[in-house]
Symmetry: C2
């Protein structure tokens, strides 16, 4: 088998970003597509998922739950791909699969990390609401946050891949949902399309006052995915017994050096103690074995019935990935950010 005619473009990590990832931190390389060995398949990437966690993998010291990307190596990432050549009896050419091909056109897999997606109407959703981000919302909100009817749930990045699902699941559980998002369009979407009770524009002044007014009965669950100013505004409003699932804090990912702000740790500890807060971090990789089957079944039903609506922000072309990713960390996307690498 010979792939002389197949050209693989890949985007490697050329330098470790200092703060915000810059164009020169990435390199687009072109080389022949690899040739599958015995037991392997060759995948054509159709969609590449861009997710905030990737920023952590660009640092020399990684986050611990996954190795850092080495300099010169292909950026990692979840993908939807089509099998173009198969030397693995479990897969046939033409099949659609969920994969981890990273930021490139073609990749090899031995099949162990592939999940067949055949028959899926909109396969890119396997990278969003029906995949890792949706699963993150499901485990974080339902298993850790445990919302009860009538409780107030606050989530930032409210139209993002995770936040949008958090809010909709909280509504399904009978909670009151207050979102925070960047810009009037996103806020309108959160309320009108996603069914949030309220959504506050984080670009407007006095978030703390507006959040207090939006949560007259306090906050029972704060789904932490941004940190920064939002956490500051949330802390004084947390009710006794509130839960804070910690899924990430995008606001800090690009911090190049330790903050020079005054120490906010004592205030956090005092709140945790006085309000009997349960703050719990989770890494979604831990939960696949136990909960992913339940999630896929339930979420597929919710989406099919229109109870959970999923919006994608699709960027065309692998070469756009670095800029789109930098924008993601600043909230420039509107919905789950996906790169369309090739037509289905």
């Amino acid at each position: 088998m010979n792939n002389d005619t197949l050209v693989n473009r890949r985007i490697t990590l050329a330098a470790r970003p200092h703060g915000r990832p810059a164009p020169q931190d990435f390199r687009l390389e072109t080389r022949p597509a690899p040739v599958p060995g015995d037991g392997q398949v060759l995948l054509r990437t159709l969609y590449l998922s861009l997710d905030p966690y990737m920023r952590n993998l660009m640092d020399e010291v990684g986050p611990g739950y996954a190795p850092s990307v080495a300099l010169g190596e292909t950026m990692v990432g979840g993908t939807v791909g089509r099998v173009v050549q198969s030397r693995n009896p479990q897969f046939q050419a033409g099949q659609l699969v969920l994969a981890n091909a990273g930021w490139q056109d073609y990749s090899l897999s031995d099949g162990a990390d592939l999940l067949p997606l055949d028959g899926m109407a909109q396969p890119s959703l396997a990278l969003g609401g029906l995949g890792m981000p949706g699963f993150t919302a499901y485990v974080g909100l339902l298993d850790i946050g445990q919302p009860r009817p009538g409780e107030t749930v606050v989530v930032a990045a409210a139209t993002g891949a995770v936040g949008a699902v958090v809010g909709q699941l909280a509504k399904l559980r009978g909670a009151r949902v207050v979102g925070i998002a960047g810009g009037a369009d996103k806020c309108r979407h959160a309320v009108e399309k996603l069914g949030f009770d309220l959504c506050l524009d984080r670009h407007e002044a006095r978030l703390d006052e507006r959040l207090a007014a939006a949560c007259p009965a306090g906050i029972d669950i704060y789904f932490e995915n941004v940190g920064g100013d939002v956490l500051d505004a949330v802390l004084p409003l947390l009710n006794i017994g509130a839960r804070v699932p910690v899924c990430g804090f995008i606001a800090h990912y690009n911090q190049a050096s330790p903050s020079t702000a005054s120490d906010r740790l004592p205030k956090l500890l005092a709140t945790v103690l006085q309000k009997r807060i349960r703050m719990q971090g989770f890494i979604i990789l831990d939960h696949y074995a136990e909960r992913f089957t339940d999630f896929r079944k339930e979420m597929a039903e919710w989406v099919a019935q229109g109870q959970v609506r999923l919006r994608e922000d699709v960027v065309d072309g692998l070469e756009q990935a670095p800029a789109a990713f930098a924008g993601l960390l600043e909230g420039k996307n509107f919905g789950k950010l996906v790169v369309r690498v090739a037509d289905e």
Copy 2:
């Protein structure tokens, strides 16, 4: 009935402390003892408990779970007292009771907040290991921390009223226990008398390095009762899935103004996320209805069998309470701090 001959000394809060409580923040007043009305008893205080939480009640804005002490009012506190006059059919003169008489010789009660202690060999223990501090250790370690055999538990203020019980209960559950205490005497006591595996002197240099060496398998439970430098040393050592019951942070209680240290919140959040930490605050008042009966029964057995050893630091004389309390916040006590107000 007339108590003209009974003189009540009481210590009031004369001023709100700025940082460390100073002698002039308190006032010793003398007045006739009160006279019990119908349904009331007059109590003679024998022992007064001094506990770190009292510092929070001295601030104008209290901690929320209990009201601040008003200026000019008697300082609050748990006590062991003897009924000297009773106009309540449920109590007889001469009975020993657990009460909340505060920092004074004589007080009235309608009986609702009294717990009979008759027959108790060492009634002051009802203020320590067999009372609120022991109960705090029990709920925080067993219910929230949930130690498993072989896990590593770290507790600071290791010979204090709460820490000493935390460590001994962790040993009973089969955990490895590393204490932190102020001074060689306390550390020796923690290891030789309380059965801790190791105890580190917080007055010596490089606590972070020594704690890392003392916890080669990392830390599974950190019972947070001090904050400050100890928390900084603990954070990098927390294992995946570690639990952090938050019971207090004495190191911050005397902070008169916000810290000027750099912001440690991002580091904490990163650790909570990456290590999947469950950090949970608790206020022991919440747990009496559900767990106090179990606690009293189990702890009394452990103490009777010598499986939990309780050391008291007894100060003689009500007038010593302000200085003893200031010392408590600096770790000058060695064991549960109790003021002997009158002979049994």
